[in-house]
């Protein structure tokens, strides 16, 4: 009988096999029918979903037991590198989320791809490969494996961002996405290698696997005890900076919207907690290590709250559906990171998942809107779609109220975060978070009113959405509504193995206050965009900042392009004129000497003239020596 471990390995590798099969069919002249690619991919997703359900069930049933297995792949200089599985509750939840989301994406994307029939096989190959890489990252048993697959995921994100490579905007943006990702990857790689080396310095060198998550606590303690505290803090800071960049936090938030040229269903994956949460997940895994240097958490707090507020403000100004979705996702991830900065480990995870379902639902709903209106993404040319797409409007509302924290899944974690902040009397951060709630409610309902209410402002008649798409949306509504409730009630059984589990208690007073603040956001959006009783608020300073994305784009362009090109110009000047001159100097001297020698040999030089020149040179040299020695001649 196949045990659960074998099933997990089968689950990990089946998308890779699927991608290989699709690749084979792409390369050989015999092509399967178009739905063949879809069918193979769908069967794989259903299969992996079933196994991930089994795994989740296994982890919950044998509560506290971690499924673990390591397979050595190579030994480099006495350092064995492993490919392994480390399936605890955390990874089983994420695995379930991966398989669920990819199943939905598979169902959703067939009809979407038939729209323009471009890159059909390529899409499914990339999709399955992404799923494989995500499995390998989220069930990874050691840090090296995680970093390796983070780099692979960067590549995948680049491939998707450049999926429509004929578009110039797609080419430029995908390059930027890749640059940001590779910077994060190299930072994480250096931090991991430093940690690998310093942890192997300790007496416990035989820990298996290398930098394994099962042993991260003791490895952290050993390193902490044996290392200079500053070096240890530097390693932790590098991990955090890498994770922040990877999760598109301030000032690298544009990374997400730059990837918006990816096909719409995949863009939903890019802004989901799976891709945006890669850095956060790594921080969850390294939590025991980071916990040893509490001061480092300040970076998370500041980066998180800045991203949350700036992201919301930018989303207010944006008119493109995809851009609003990406800034919303970045902003929500910022709140999760902010919660992690307060060491609210479990709430951060809880928030990321709850908000994540809302974000995915909103994103897929807006994908159907785009599909229906012929790829119209600008909300200025949409409106009144509630009559044409009632189910989508309802789904969007469910997602919006959830993400805004009114009711459903989004309510529970937000209430807990606010309650904990209130209990800790941390009023500044509490206020900032409430501002963020207000802004979130405002821009989500602005989006709702601009798309689904009022009159239709587009030119193309909206078409019906396929059943498969509607089915995908209905399926997504369920977790958005119930996940928070279930998670909140069964948190103990899910979190019991973790030492840091402490959801905390929400405060009724704060909850009511937060509700009122969010309702105010809704009310304002209602009056501005629906009844139009209030004209839109025009703050030139904020508008300017929001439209410039708080100068984050300029910052990214500066560090990755302008600054380097400026330095390159200086170096090129040095290279061409100064170094070039010195390199040609021996050649020049040799030529002059040889010229003079030839002239002497041929007796073509007036010797009297030459002797005079020598005398003049001698006098000049003596005069200059005299000047430098005494300073008499002026």
């Amino acid at each position: 009988m196949i045990d659960i471990l074998n099933l997990v390995y089968i689950m990990i590798f089946s998308p890779l096999v699927c991608a290989a099969i699709l690749m084979f069919f792409k390369l050989v002249p015999v092509k399967p029918p178009q739905y063949g690619n879809f069918a193979i991919s769908l069967i794989t997703s259903i299969f992996t979903f079933a196994i991930s359900l089994l795994l989740f069930d296994y982890c919950i049933t044998y509560n506290g037991y971690t499924l673990e297995n390591n397979y050595p792949i190579c030994i480099i200089q006495n350092i064995p590198l492993y490919f392994g599985v480390y399936a605890d509750n955390l990874s089983s939840i994420f695995t379930l989320l991966i398989t669920f989301l990819f199943l939905i994406t598979n169902i959703f994307s067939y009809r979407y791809l038939l729209q323009n029939r471009q890159g059909f096989e390529r899409f499914y190959i990339y999709l399955n490969f992404t799923q494989f890489a995500l499995f390998c990252f989220f069930i990874s048993s050691n840090l090296i494996q995680s970093v390796v697959f983070l780099m692979i995921l960067s590549l995948v994100e680049y491939l998707f961002a450049n999926f429509y490579f004929q578009k110039p905007i797609s080419q430029t943006n995908s390059k930027k996405v890749f640059e940001i990702n590779i910077l994060a990857d190299f930072i994480l790689l250096i931090a991991s290698i430093a940690f690998l080396y310093f942890s192997t310095l300790t007496p416990d060198t035989t820990s298996i696997p290398t930098l394994g998550y099962n042993n991260i606590n003791s490895l952290g303690l050993y390193s902490f005890a044996s290392l200079n505290p500053l070096i240890f803090a530097l390693i932790c800071a590098l991990f955090i900076i890498g994770a922040i960049i990877k999760s598109a936090q301030f000032p690298f938030s544009p990374k997400t919207y730059l990837a918006s040229n990816a096909p719409n269903p995949v863009f939903s994956i890019i802004i989901s907690p799976l891709m945006l949460g890669l850095g956060v997940f790594l921080l969850f895994r390294l939590y025991p290590l980071l916990n040893l240097t509490p001061a480092i958490f300040e970076i998370l707090k500041i980066a998180g709250i800045m991203t949350a507020i700036f992201g919301s403000l930018v989303a207010l100004k944006e008119n493109s559906i995809k851009n609003i979705c990406s800034w919303m996702a970045v902003s929500q991830t910022g709140i999760a990171i902010f919660a992690l900065g307060f060491k609210m480990y479990d709430i951060s995870l809880f928030y990321m998942l709850c908000a994540g379902f809302g974000i995915i639902l909103i994103s897929f709903t807006l994908n159907t809107v785009c599909y229906s209106t012929g790829s119209q993404e600008n909300i200025k040319f949409l409106g009144g779609l509630r009559e044409k797409l009632p189910l989508e409007a309802m789904a969007f509302l469910v997602g919006a109220v959830s993400v805004s924290g009114f009711v459903f899944s989004g309510f529970y974690p937000r209430a807990t975060i606010l309650g904990n902040l209130f209990a800790a009397k941390n009023l500044i951060y509490l206020t900032l978070l409430l501002i963020c709630s207000f802004l979130t409610a405002f821009y989500l309902f602005r989006l709702y009113f601009r798309i689904f209410e009022g009159d239709y402002r587009g030119t193309i008649e909206p078409k019906r959405v396929s059943r498969a798409m509607i089915f995908a949306i209905i399926v997504l509504i369920l977790p958005t509504v119930f996940f928070g409730f279930l998670f909140n009630n069964y948190a103990n059984s899910i979190f019991s193995p973790l030492e840091y589990s402490k959801l905390g208690v929400s405060n009724p007073f704060v909850n009511v206050f937060a509700f009122v603040i969010s309702a105010l956001g809704y009310y304002l959006a209602y009056n501005i965009y629906f009844t139009k009783r209030i004209s839109s608020i025009r703050n030139r300073f904020l508008r300017r900042l929001s439209s410039e994305h708080f100068y984050m784009d300029i910052f990214i362009d500066f560090i990755f392009k302008d600054f380097i090109l400026f330095i390159a110009k200086i170096f090129a000047f040095f290279e061409k004129y100064i170094l070039g001159f010195f390199c040609s100097l021996p050649n020049l001297i040799t030529r002059i000497i040889s010229y003079l020698t030839v002239k002497f040999e041929a007796k073509n030089i007036n010797s009297q003239f030459f002797v005079s020149a020598l005398w003049i040179a001698l006098v000049l040299i003596l005069a200059s020596v005299f000047y430098f020695k005494t300073g008499v001649i002026r």
Binding site: C74, V148, M151, F186, I187, I190, N228, I567, K569, A572
Partner: protein, 501 residues
């Protein structure tokens, strides 16, 4: 076969093959000459690989030192030859690079095939002699012959602009060889004076007894050769001009020179002159980090495709140098792996860039673009090589950089603060290199369509084969780097143990 006899065979075989072509055995029949050279190289490479892996455990440098002394000529104080592990790896690598270049030469060398194939084989023979000989005279002579062969090849098989560069490169190389010969003469005289047979082995044994000034002189002579070959900041202009105007088929020349630079650096500067190296290692490390960032930035700003590739080459070599200066087992293994990986990746990228230049009839990047739909195979191979150059996992670039960085941390001779500062600069260099590669790839294969007047064709069959083989090697080294690192560990251990003493 004994190490001695097999080495003789290996070093002389290409010379014999080259002579066969040169003296006109094949009656100027270009097809026969090409096929002979290609099949000879393939056979030679397979045979050498088999021999190397079969005998790897016996061919450590230490064993060469302890092997029986074969006297060839009493006049030069006797000689001994044999490949140590490092020499063996580099010999294999060079024969592989030359094989790839022979495959490519079918469509890139259109005239003077007799001269081309014979001189490349002479070059190979001279290279292997330098790697294997333990005799001062033979070493210097082979080095000079190597410089001459590269001069002839660059002069005859490159455009007019490269001829000036070939002149200055030959001048520089000969100058350093003469300096080295002088230094060798000094060592020779000292050894003879003390009744010790004068050769590199005895020089290695007795290096600690020599005076500091002589060691310093020798160190600078070797460092100068390495600085020109690898190359270092200030010595890069001639080789840059060669790369800029080079024919794809003679890419093996400048790549072999990189490898030779590393070999001389490891064997002479690090191993034999260890006392001096220990003093200068931090300075060399800092200079290499400067090299890494300086050349990566220049590569990013450069608009000429081949010139920016040249800068990128120099930048990549600095990573290996940096790892060597860490004087740790991981660092040395990483450096050798980086050297091998870099040679393969750079050869592949250079071939791709040359093919691209042929298609667009220019080397200026602003006049290139949107080639991907017209040449999908070329785009695919170039993408794989770009990823390997960046250091994406499962390619040799990743394994090499991983080990180099690990070596940097595991050094015993620097303080932790210095290591961190160095590694942060290396991080900047790596990121800049990655940005350069992806930018170049995007500019060539995507971007605005510049294919109006170009000669559009995808890869020919033999070019596809060459790039495919290179890609396979790169992926194999990325998935299983221990193929190489296992063989070099003992050697690295031997070097590191000298410093720990």
């Amino acid at each position: 076969m004994e190490n001695f006899s097999s080495t003789i065979v290996f070093t002389l075989l290409p010379l014999v093959a080259g002579l066969l072509i040169f003296i006109g055995t094949f009656k100027n029949n270009t097809v026969v000459i090409r096929r002979f050279a290609k099949y000879f190289s393939a056979f030679y490479f397979i045979f050498a690989a088999f021999e190397f892996f079969n005998r790897n455990t016996d061919s450590e440098f230490g064993n060469v030192l302890n092997s029986p002394f074969y006297i060839i000529s009493n006049a030069t104080g006797g000689t001994s030859i044999g490949f140590d592990t490092l020499g063996g790896i580099f010999a294999l690598l060079v024969s592989f690079l030359i094989l790839i270049c022979f495959v490519i030469a079918k469509s890139t060398v259109n005239s003077g095939q007799k001269l081309f194939y014979s001189f490349v084989l002479f070059f190979e023979s001279a290279f292997l002699t330098v790697l294997s000989t333990q005799d001062f005279c033979v070493f210097s002579a082979a080095l000079l012959f190597l410089a001459l062969c590269s001069y002839v090849l660059i002069f005859n098989f490159s455009p007019l602009r490269a001829k000036k560069a070939a002149n200055s490169y030959l001048t520089l190389n000969s100058f350093t060889v003469f300096i080295l010969s002088g230094a060798f003469a000094l060592v020779y005289a000292i050894l003879k004076y003390n009744n010790i047979e004068a050769n590199i082995l005895n020089f290695a044994y007795n290096s600690t007894d020599l005076s500091g000034v002589i060691l310093l002189l020798l160190f600078f002579a070797f460092a100068l050769i390495s600085a020109i070959k690898i190359p270092f900041f200030g010595f890069h202009l001639p080789i840059l001009n060669i790369i800029k105007n080079s024919n794809p088929a003679i890419a093996c020349i400048f790549l072999s020179d990189f490898i030779l630079g590393f070999f001389i650096f490891i064997k002479f500067n690090m191993y034999i002159l260890k006392d001096i190296f220990e003093i200068f290692a931090p300075i060399i490390a800092i200079l290499s980090i400067f090299n890494l960032c300086y050349f990566a930035i220049l590569a990013l700003g450069e608009k000429d495709l081949k010139k920016s590739f040249g800068y990128f080459c120099f930048s990549q070599s600095s990573i290996a140098l940096c790892a060597l200066c860490s004087i740790s087992i991981e660092g040395i293994c990483g450096a050798v792996l980086q050297c091998v990986s870099q040679s393969l990746i750079l050869l592949g990228l250079f071939l791709c860039y040359c093919f691209v230049s042929q298609i667009f009839k220019t080397t200026k990047l602003p006049f290139m673009g949107a080639l991907a739909p017209y040449a999908p195979k070329l785009a695919a191979f170039c993408f794989i090589l770009t990823l390997a150059g960046i250091g994406i996992p499962f390619t040799s670039g990743f394994s090499a950089k991983f080990l180099c960085l690990l070596g940097g941390f595991s050094t015993q001779i620097y303080s932790q603060n210095v290591i961190w500062i160095c590694n942060l600069f290396i991080l900047i260099g790596l990121t800049l290199g990655a940005i350069h590669l992806i930018t170049t790839f995007q500019k060539i294969f995507f971007g605005t369509d510049e294919c109006n007047n170009c000669k559009i064709s995808d890869l020919l069959r033999h070019r596809t084969l060459a790039l495919f083989v290179l890609s396979i090697c790169i992926i194999a080294l990325g998935v299983a780097p221990y193929i190489l690192t296992n063989s070099i560990t003992k050697y690295a251990d031997m070097i590191v143990s000298l410093f720990l003493m």
